[in-house]
Symmetry: C2
Subunit: 215 residues, 2 copies
DNA sequence: CGGAATCCTCTTCGATACTG
DNA sequence: CAGTATCGAAGAGGATTCCG
């Protein structure tokens, strides 16, 4: 039962011992947008197979990357969530997301699409220099999924669900959203063409578009 | 011959399509410290096997991550080197190196050890904000491995071997070095306790400790 | 030396079916 | 729902061989 290891006294190799198997990093990506049930993970990872998912979650739990918790009543469902150690992988995942965008140019027919992935892409491309003193939140409604971005003290959080009192609401379909995140469409153009609709403060909109890469 | 893909329209998934197979990211790590011959790679990746290495290099070349070049005479040897796209993976690798440090606490008997990997670890923990106008070099002697850091124009280079005229020489054992790198020990404390010894300019020492994460 | 090709064994993956 | 069991297919690992 001894797990396969690269057996190298090196941080990269150890990281790959933990994360290097097929699907593992994608599971972490899924959990980055909040705790998920087994079934949610299955749906977010088309093709994984239940046995693999079980095995990966068990491994990640063993490494202290993932934790299994039971939500308080009345939900009472069991979910998987990232530990502190797991959340500290966020910069790595975002780096991979940004790097992978270079291969995302051509959308392929066989590709699955999910709003949550767009949020990861979104976060990975948010321009930090635009954050500054900003302290506000934007709600994104991409097709029928809702997320929000919360900016405060130079930190950016992207979470599932709607914002309490958003300074801006952004509506879009998944296609447009991904295209903007991938840098293939200018956010301002998408707004101008109506592919992206916004409600809220005009200045908030401009700051938001700037963070999305608007020139 | 259709390559296996996650088929997700997501940057992370595409990145894993390219980099996610066994050994691939470690090959990139190896090439991060300079071009390497096939044999050098084999030695830096104990256990990989010639067929796998060939296949991975071919894939990476196909993706434009790696390039095959023939060195000018008299060397005239064929080497593999990272393309611009490949070098842009450095932040990701460094992120993984930093994360993997947390699993490196216990050195295992069966682990391979190579100076180049320690260099990667060092580079991954150097704090960039401390660089500023600094223009100097530090030599590190970790157990019997020697490498040096050269800082100039806000850039940091880590190289094998000793420095020509180092402003500072830092001595330490591997355990201490890793503990400092992983943030488990304050560099200044390690100096105070004698676990890290330094020779050279006092101000250089302070700058160096700052880059190692001293508060 | 720098690979490519072949063969064989073992492990892992992927898909489906089945159970608490 | 949340997994376990199972089984054929694909990939990994190691050795060896061949070639330029």
């Amino acid at each position: 039962m001894s797990k396969r290891s690269y057996n190298q006294y090196c941080g990269v190799a150890r990281a790959m011992d933990v994360l290097g198997e097929r699907w593992t990093l994608l599971i972490v990506r899924e959990l980055l947008t909040g705790p998920k049930r087994f079934k949610d993970l299955l749906e977010g990872l088309p093709g994984i197979g239940t046995n693999l998912l079980t095995a990966r979650l068990k491994d990640l739990e063993g490494y202290g990357v993932v934790r299994r918790v039971t939500l308080p009543p009345p939900a009472a469902s069991r979910v998987y969530e990232l530990t502190e150690l797991g959340r500290s992988l966020e910069p790595v995942i975002m780096g991979l997301a940004r790097w992978g965008l270079k291969f995302l140019g051509a959308s392929r027919e066989e590709d699955d699409r999910q709003p949550a992935w767009a949020m990861v892409a979104l976060k990975s491309v948010l321009k930090s220099e635009a954050k500054g003193e900003t302290r506000e939140s934007y709600e994104f409604r991409v097709d029928d999924e809702v997320f929000h971005v919360w900016i405060a003290d130079g930190e950016t959080e992207v979470r599932q669900g709607s914002a309490a009192d958003p300074d801006l609401v952004v509506r879009s379909d998944t296609q447009t959203f991904l295209a903007v995140a991938a840098g293939r469409i200018e956010p301002t153009e998408a707004v101008a063409s109506g592919a992206i609709g916004t409600e809220g403060d005009r200045e908030a909109r401009e700051r938001c578009m700037k963070m999305l890469g608007a020139r």
